[in-house]
Symmetry: C2
């Protein structure tokens, strides 16, 4: 921790690259906008922290809310419980093999974990293990409102009621409600299409909840959420909470579909220019496939993004016509848009000269990533900047990997 | 370390998933085959440890050789120096911002680092920083033999001689020789094409070395290497060392082009079946885009690989017709090949039933990855198995991330 503090108030130029930069001005603006959106809809905000895996981000994202959050790994559950977050939804279908670790997190840190299930046999196996440990968990039934990932169909009354009954008879689990995630909204083209998915997400979750209530079960939680649907939803009647995540950072994938602007992207990767290759017309940087991720999801909606857009180190305004064109494990290769096609040899040479002059060897660039969750995941920390500044004003730790810290990690 | 030892001799069924499995029987066979190949060509083997980032793997890969290795990050250089490896080539173009960290690694652990450069201005900046610190490094000149990444052209005598002269006059750097990496061999279709690239890699490196010798410079090292060219090279006259890396583990990408067989893949990811979705015809597992990586490089050469092939937990024989069809952050979705196209509704139902029975909820699978380097990178450890066994007989630590451990990490 002392070591981390020493890094604050250093200049970007002094950081070892690749490094993960987080613009706290943009982050706060994104958090506040989503907070207001939840308030306007009259629902609780339970942000998904799988994007940032950071307690500092979680504190900003839950400001003015209960502090409830969503996580996707045992490592995240453990990390946030250690940092005082005590109301956690573990939003990946639960299996019995994870119960011991989750029980330990509840016991050691006083957190309450809510689990997710969509199959009777999983509920039985999890309940058996929980009973053996003397553990208790709340459970949400996962509903598939079109994502085709986990969940029972919202109109499958038989499955919903069987699951609820199994949870209630388990002796170790308590039914909390229903949860859905419209992950397919990430592939919808246009805001109208996303609005329709948001409404299907809402209606499906509410329908499942009403089915359970009609069957005599208490349903406190009707949880929906994905950043695109959270941004685009017109109404959330019957919903009790939303769980968006990537909105905290935003990224090229969200910007490509108009869910945010480029200026709303809070996350970038600082890299050093390590070479110029005139034969391949490439500028080499020391941020490659591991530092940026090979995710290029924004390409579904916008051309010319490559594996990321390129900015000078002091800001996040993309340099026109430049993109990360290729990735190797620890190398990124920046190219010009179109790369001189149709130009005269003289114009090609001038273009190349301009590229190399704009990005001199030893200089620093920021790369805007396609998918903030993928890019941030392998890093240990954020270097926090404010707006267009080049000073690091804080260093924030984060979780990573899959295992709980501690004696058996 | 004690905690890690406790995990040895547990069964695969008891591991928390996702977990990275390493078959040491296959690993040793892969290492021995490459070791014999290097011996047959009369060149030194300096394996690239960016794939495994593991000292245990490095010890097997350098058995019978000098112990010299190749690394791609400061984190790896630091980790291997701490584990007693004292002859390290840092095979990413050097920049002045990394000199302090590398100097510290040399000073604290008695390692000797060889750096890579291809531009006079980088040599000047690195030398200036090295002189300020009183540091000394050996330097290899990077040659581009067709990869289009780093390096000067092998026939660019002016650039080669200018670089060599700059290194020698720096007062802090010593010229060691030349290095090239035929990264484009990863995209070559067919063994004949790879053999041609291997010969161009060899000839280019030797030509650059001879140009330097003719200019009066001593050239001890002529370094080539990439797994495809190392496997396929017919002769390595004039070369002094090879630096393949991924051969230690192999993967679907290498298998797709016939560089190895499926049975030569030593690395896999253990996952738990967490759901069945009859509507989307998917089996859900708890290994997603972070646990497997979104790399699908093998798709360039073979259809039907999805984001990985699926095996039962006790072996690495792919289950016919199954693949990881979709990835979300922490979810993988397994589907059948062709997915029942053209079948009757009854046949579709039977196929689905067979899929769900083969992969029951709570059961475990192993996924063979496309690109071992990408998949292994974010993990902290390997669970080591032998052949088709289901017992973990060792747990091996590894490096990850970009920063050196220690007081300023």
């Amino acid at each position: 921790m002392v070591a981390m503090m020493q890094l604050a108030h250093t200049a970007l130029a002094e950081l070892t690259t690749p490094a993960l930069l987080l613009d706290s001005t943009v982050l706060e603006r994104n958090c506040d906008a989503m907070s207001r959106r939840a308030a306007r809809h009259g629902v609780a905000l339970r942000p998904h922290l799988k994007t940032s895996k950071s307690a500092d981000v979680a504190r900003l994202a839950t400001r003015g809310h209960s502090g409830a959050i969503t996580v996707s790994t045992i490592a995240e559950a453990d990390y946030f419980a250690r940092h005082g977050f005590d109301d956690l939804t573990y939003a990946v279908g639960i299996s019995a093999g994870k119960v011991d670790a989750l029980h330990r997190i509840q016991r050691m840190h006083g957190a309450r974990l809510t689990l997710l299930a969509d199959r009777v046999e999983a509920v039985q196996a999890v309940a058996a293990r929980a009973r053996a440990l003397g553990a208790r968990f709340k459970v949400l039934i996962e509903v598939d409102t079109g994502g085709g990932r986990g969940g029972v169909a919202p109109d499958d009354e038989h499955a919903l009621l069987a699951l609820a009954a199994e949870v209630q008879r388990s002796g170790a689990l308590t039914l909390a409600g229903v949860l859905t995630h419209a992950g397919h909204s990430y592939h919808a083209n246009g805001l109208a299409a996303i609005r329709a998915i948001a409404e299907a997400e809402r209606a499906g979750a509410v329908r499942a909840a009403e089915c359970l209530r009609a069957g005599g079960f208490e349903v406190d939680v009707v949880s929906v959420g994905a950043t695109p649907t959270a941004v685009c939803a017109e109404r959330l009647d019957g919903v009790t909470e939303m769980r968006p995540g990537v909105y905290t950072f935003f990224d090229l994938d969200q910007a490509a579909r108009g869910i945010c602007g480029i200026e709303d992207i809070a996350l970038s990767v600082l890299a050093t220019v390590i070479g110029h290759n005139p034969r391949s017309r490439r500028v080499l940087i020391d941020a490659g496939a591991l530092a940026l991720s090979k995710d290029e999801s924004g390409a579904e909606f916008r051309d010319g993004l490559g594996f990321g857009l390129v900015c000078h180190a002091g800001n996040t305004r993309p340099l026109p016509g430049l993109r990360v064109a290729e990735l190797h494990q620890e190398h990124g290769l920046i190219a010009c848009d179109g790369d001189g096609a149709g130009h005269t040899p003289e114009a090609l040479q001038e273009e190349l000269q301009a590229l190399f002059e704009a990005l001199p060897i030893g200089g620093r660039v920021r790369i805007l990533p396609h998918h903030a969750c993928m890019t941030a995941a392998p890093y240990d920390r954020y270097h926090v900047v404010r707006g267009a500044g080049t000073q690091v004003h804080a260093v924030w730790g984060k979780a990573r990997g899959w295992h709980a810290a501690g004696p058996d990690a």
